[in-house]
Protein backbone atom coordinates (compact mmCIF):
# COMPACT_ATOMS: atom_id res chain seq x y z
CA UNK A 1 0.00 0.00 0.00
CA UNK A 2 1.16 3.49 -0.82
CA UNK A 3 0.52 4.67 2.72
CA UNK A 4 2.88 2.06 4.23
CA UNK A 5 6.06 3.48 5.69
CA UNK A 6 9.12 2.72 3.51
CA UNK A 7 10.41 0.01 5.87
CA UNK A 8 7.19 -2.01 5.40
CA UNK A 9 7.52 -2.34 1.58
CA UNK A 10 8.60 -5.72 0.22
CA UNK A 11 12.26 -5.08 -0.39
CA UNK A 12 14.66 -7.83 -1.48
CA UNK A 13 16.12 -9.64 1.51
CA UNK A 14 19.79 -10.42 1.82
CA UNK A 15 21.56 -12.84 1.74
CA UNK A 16 20.28 -14.83 -1.23
CA UNK A 17 21.24 -18.21 0.17
CA UNK A 18 20.53 -20.05 -3.10
CA UNK A 19 23.45 -18.34 -4.89
CA UNK A 20 25.99 -19.76 -2.45
CA UNK A 21 27.66 -23.14 -2.90
CA UNK A 22 26.84 -25.32 0.14
CA UNK A 23 29.83 -25.62 2.45
CA UNK A 24 30.59 -27.82 5.46
CA UNK A 25 30.10 -24.93 7.83
CA UNK A 26 26.81 -23.68 6.34
CA UNK A 27 25.28 -27.16 5.92
CA UNK A 28 26.18 -28.15 9.50
CA UNK A 29 24.80 -24.85 10.76
CA UNK A 30 21.34 -25.42 9.28
CA UNK A 31 21.52 -29.08 10.39
CA UNK A 32 21.88 -27.82 13.98
CA UNK A 33 18.54 -26.01 13.60
CA UNK A 34 16.84 -28.93 11.85
CA UNK A 35 17.96 -31.41 14.53
CA UNK A 36 16.90 -28.92 17.23
CA UNK A 37 13.36 -28.70 15.83
CA UNK A 38 13.26 -32.50 15.37
CA UNK A 39 14.37 -32.99 18.98
CA UNK A 40 11.57 -30.73 20.21
CA UNK A 41 9.11 -33.11 18.54
CA UNK A 42 11.05 -36.19 19.69
CA UNK A 43 10.99 -35.00 23.30
CA UNK A 44 7.19 -35.20 23.20
CA UNK A 45 7.64 -38.93 22.36
CA UNK A 46 9.85 -39.27 25.42
CA UNK A 47 7.19 -37.65 27.62
CA UNK A 48 4.62 -40.02 26.08
CA UNK A 49 6.84 -42.96 27.13
CA UNK A 50 7.21 -41.57 30.69
CA UNK A 51 3.48 -40.81 31.00
CA UNK A 52 2.68 -44.33 29.78
CA UNK A 53 4.99 -45.85 32.39
CA UNK A 54 3.22 -43.73 35.03
CA UNK A 55 -0.27 -44.73 33.78
CA UNK A 56 -0.61 -48.51 33.63
CA UNK A 57 1.30 -51.67 32.72
CA UNK A 58 -1.02 -52.32 29.75
CA UNK A 59 -0.59 -48.86 28.25
CA UNK A 60 3.17 -48.99 28.85
CA UNK A 61 3.32 -52.35 27.03
CA UNK A 62 1.48 -50.73 24.10
CA UNK A 63 4.00 -47.85 23.93
CA UNK A 64 6.96 -50.24 24.26
CA UNK A 65 5.43 -52.28 21.44
CA UNK A 66 5.26 -49.16 19.25
CA UNK A 67 8.90 -48.26 20.06
CA UNK A 68 9.97 -51.79 19.05
CA UNK A 69 8.02 -51.68 15.76
CA UNK A 70 9.68 -50.82 12.44
CA UNK A 71 8.41 -47.22 12.54
CA UNK A 72 9.35 -46.91 16.22
CA UNK A 73 12.92 -48.09 15.58
CA UNK A 74 13.35 -45.71 12.62
CA UNK A 75 12.05 -42.81 14.78
CA UNK A 76 14.32 -43.76 17.69
CA UNK A 77 17.43 -44.04 15.49
CA UNK A 78 16.57 -40.67 13.91
CA UNK A 79 16.02 -39.22 17.37
CA UNK A 80 19.35 -40.65 18.58
CA UNK A 81 21.25 -39.14 15.63
CA UNK A 82 19.52 -35.75 16.11
CA UNK A 83 20.34 -35.86 19.84
CA UNK A 84 24.02 -36.80 19.37
CA UNK A 85 24.50 -34.33 16.52
CA UNK A 86 22.86 -31.45 18.42
CA UNK A 87 24.82 -32.35 21.58
CA UNK A 88 28.22 -32.51 19.83
CA UNK A 89 27.59 -29.48 17.63
CA UNK A 90 26.20 -27.64 20.68
CA UNK A 91 29.53 -28.19 22.43
CA UNK A 92 31.21 -26.80 19.26
CA UNK A 93 28.96 -23.74 19.57
CA UNK A 94 29.91 -23.28 23.24
CA UNK A 95 33.60 -23.26 22.26
CA UNK A 96 32.81 -20.64 19.61
CA UNK A 97 31.00 -18.58 22.27
CA UNK A 98 34.27 -18.63 24.22
CA UNK A 99 36.07 -17.41 21.09
CA UNK A 100 37.82 -20.73 20.44
CA UNK A 101 38.05 -22.41 17.01
CA UNK A 102 36.42 -19.71 14.92
CA UNK A 103 39.06 -19.76 12.12
CA UNK A 104 38.12 -21.51 8.87
CA UNK A 105 40.43 -24.52 9.25
CA UNK A 106 39.52 -25.40 12.86
CA UNK A 107 35.80 -24.72 12.19
CA UNK A 108 35.87 -27.21 9.30
CA UNK A 109 37.84 -29.79 11.29
CA UNK A 110 35.53 -29.56 14.32
CA UNK A 111 32.57 -29.92 11.97
CA UNK A 112 33.96 -33.15 10.51
CA UNK A 113 34.67 -34.37 14.04
CA UNK A 114 31.10 -33.60 15.16
CA UNK A 115 29.57 -35.53 12.24
CA UNK A 116 31.89 -38.50 12.81
CA UNK A 117 31.16 -38.54 16.55
CA UNK A 118 27.38 -38.28 16.04
CA UNK A 119 27.40 -41.11 13.48
CA UNK A 120 29.60 -43.34 15.67
CA UNK A 121 27.46 -42.74 18.79
CA UNK A 122 24.26 -43.44 16.82
CA UNK A 123 25.60 -46.76 15.49
CA UNK A 124 26.92 -47.73 18.94
CA UNK A 125 23.54 -46.92 20.56
CA UNK A 126 21.59 -48.85 17.92
CA UNK A 127 23.85 -51.89 18.42
CA UNK A 128 23.45 -51.76 22.22
CA UNK A 129 19.67 -51.19 22.11
CA UNK A 130 18.96 -53.82 19.45
CA UNK A 131 21.19 -56.56 20.91
CA UNK A 132 18.91 -59.09 22.64
CA UNK A 133 19.43 -58.99 26.39
CA UNK A 134 19.08 -61.53 29.16
CA UNK A 135 15.43 -60.76 29.89
CA UNK A 136 12.99 -60.82 26.96
CA UNK A 137 12.06 -57.36 25.69
Amino acid sequence: MASDPPARRDRPLSPHLQVYKPQWTSVLSILHRITGVALAAGTVLLVWWLAAAASSAEYFAFVQGFMASGLGIVLLIGWAFALYYHLCNGIRHLFWDAGIGLELGPARMSGLLVVAAAAALTVLSAVIALTPQGSPA
Binding site: G36, L39, A40, T43, V47, L50, A57, A68, L83, A137
Partner: protein
Protein backbone atom coordinates in the same frame (compact mmCIF):
# COMPACT_ATOMS: atom_id res chain seq x y z
CA UNK B 1 31.10 6.25 17.46
CA UNK B 2 27.80 5.12 18.86
CA UNK B 3 24.37 6.62 18.23
CA UNK B 4 22.97 5.18 21.44
CA UNK B 5 22.07 7.49 24.29
CA UNK B 6 24.11 7.17 27.50
CA UNK B 7 20.97 5.98 29.34
CA UNK B 8 20.31 3.32 26.64
CA UNK B 9 23.91 2.12 26.95
CA UNK B 10 23.85 1.85 30.71
CA UNK B 11 20.58 -0.11 30.61
CA UNK B 12 22.11 -2.43 27.99
CA UNK B 13 18.72 -3.73 26.85
CA UNK B 14 18.96 -3.11 23.09
CA UNK B 15 16.05 -2.99 20.64
CA UNK B 16 14.42 -6.18 21.98
CA UNK B 17 14.21 -4.60 25.48
CA UNK B 18 15.49 -7.91 26.80
CA UNK B 19 19.26 -7.40 26.88
CA UNK B 20 21.22 -10.64 26.69
CA UNK B 21 18.78 -12.61 28.84
CA UNK B 22 17.48 -14.88 26.05
CA UNK B 23 20.97 -15.67 24.78
CA UNK B 24 22.30 -16.26 28.29
CA UNK B 25 19.40 -18.56 29.30
CA UNK B 26 19.97 -20.63 26.16
CA UNK B 27 23.71 -21.02 26.94
CA UNK B 28 23.08 -21.87 30.63
CA UNK B 29 20.56 -24.58 29.72
CA UNK B 30 22.95 -25.83 27.00
CA UNK B 31 25.80 -26.19 29.52
CA UNK B 32 23.49 -28.03 31.95
CA UNK B 33 22.24 -30.30 29.18
CA UNK B 34 25.71 -31.56 28.17
CA UNK B 35 26.28 -33.80 31.25
CA UNK B 36 22.52 -34.45 31.76
CA UNK B 37 22.10 -35.70 28.19
CA UNK B 38 25.15 -37.97 28.39
CA UNK B 39 23.83 -39.42 31.68
CA UNK B 40 20.36 -39.85 30.19
CA UNK B 41 21.59 -41.52 26.98
CA UNK B 42 23.59 -44.08 28.99
CA UNK B 43 20.63 -44.69 31.36
CA UNK B 44 18.07 -45.09 28.59
CA UNK B 45 20.28 -47.51 26.67
CA UNK B 46 20.43 -49.73 29.75
CA UNK B 47 16.60 -49.58 29.97
CA UNK B 48 15.99 -50.31 26.27
CA UNK B 49 13.06 -52.70 26.01
CA UNK B 50 12.88 -53.04 29.80
CA UNK B 51 9.79 -54.01 31.79
CA UNK B 52 7.87 -51.27 33.59
CA UNK B 53 9.18 -52.63 36.91
CA UNK B 54 12.75 -51.85 35.82
CA UNK B 55 11.81 -48.19 35.31
CA UNK B 56 10.17 -47.99 38.76
CA UNK B 57 13.31 -49.55 40.19
CA UNK B 58 15.47 -47.00 38.33
CA UNK B 59 13.31 -44.16 39.72
CA UNK B 60 13.46 -45.48 43.30
CA UNK B 61 16.74 -43.57 43.65
CA UNK B 62 16.10 -39.88 44.52
CA UNK B 63 19.29 -38.82 42.71
CA UNK B 64 17.89 -40.29 39.48
CA UNK B 65 14.58 -38.51 40.05
CA UNK B 66 16.32 -35.17 40.68
CA UNK B 67 18.52 -35.50 37.60
CA UNK B 68 15.57 -36.52 35.42
CA UNK B 69 13.45 -33.57 36.61
CA UNK B 70 16.40 -31.21 35.97
CA UNK B 71 16.80 -32.75 32.51
CA UNK B 72 13.11 -32.19 31.69
CA UNK B 73 13.19 -28.56 32.93
CA UNK B 74 16.41 -27.73 31.06
CA UNK B 75 15.30 -29.55 27.87
CA UNK B 76 11.92 -27.84 27.58
CA UNK B 77 13.30 -24.43 28.52
CA UNK B 78 16.14 -24.78 26.00
CA UNK B 79 13.77 -26.17 23.37
CA UNK B 80 11.21 -23.38 23.60
CA UNK B 81 13.96 -20.72 23.52
CA UNK B 82 15.38 -22.33 20.37
CA UNK B 83 12.01 -22.75 18.65
CA UNK B 84 11.23 -19.10 19.44
CA UNK B 85 14.34 -17.99 17.52
CA UNK B 86 13.51 -20.29 14.59
CA UNK B 87 9.95 -18.86 14.44
CA UNK B 88 11.24 -15.27 14.68
CA UNK B 89 13.65 -15.96 11.80
CA UNK B 90 11.28 -17.65 9.36
CA UNK B 91 7.72 -16.51 10.15
CA UNK B 92 7.23 -12.96 8.96
CA UNK B 93 3.47 -12.52 9.43
CA UNK B 94 3.17 -10.84 12.82
CA UNK B 95 -0.03 -12.65 13.92
CA UNK B 96 1.35 -16.10 12.99
CA UNK B 97 4.69 -15.30 14.61
CA UNK B 98 3.18 -14.26 17.96
CA UNK B 99 0.61 -17.08 17.82
CA UNK B 100 3.24 -19.77 17.18
CA UNK B 101 5.56 -18.44 19.90
CA UNK B 102 2.69 -18.48 22.43
CA UNK B 103 1.75 -22.03 21.30
CA UNK B 104 5.35 -23.25 21.67
CA UNK B 105 5.71 -21.74 25.16
CA UNK B 106 2.41 -23.22 26.37
CA UNK B 107 3.20 -26.63 24.81
CA UNK B 108 6.63 -26.65 26.52
CA UNK B 109 4.99 -25.94 29.90
CA UNK B 110 2.31 -28.60 29.32
CA UNK B 111 4.60 -31.42 28.14
CA UNK B 112 7.32 -30.51 30.63
CA UNK B 113 4.70 -30.56 33.39
CA UNK B 114 3.32 -33.94 32.28
CA UNK B 115 6.87 -35.32 32.16
CA UNK B 116 7.72 -34.13 35.69
CA UNK B 117 4.43 -35.40 37.16
CA UNK B 118 5.00 -38.79 35.47
CA UNK B 119 8.50 -39.08 36.92
CA UNK B 120 7.27 -38.11 40.42
CA UNK B 121 4.33 -40.51 40.22
CA UNK B 122 6.65 -43.38 39.26
CA UNK B 123 9.05 -42.36 42.02
CA UNK B 124 6.44 -42.16 44.78
CA UNK B 125 3.82 -44.70 43.69
CA UNK B 126 6.12 -47.14 41.85
Amino acid sequence: MSFRTPLGRVRGLGSAKDGTHHWWAQRLTAIALVPLTVWFAVSILMLAGAERAAISEWLANPVTVGLLVMLIVATFHHGQLGLQVVIEDYVHTEAWKIGLIVFVKFAALLFGGIGIVSVLKLAFAG
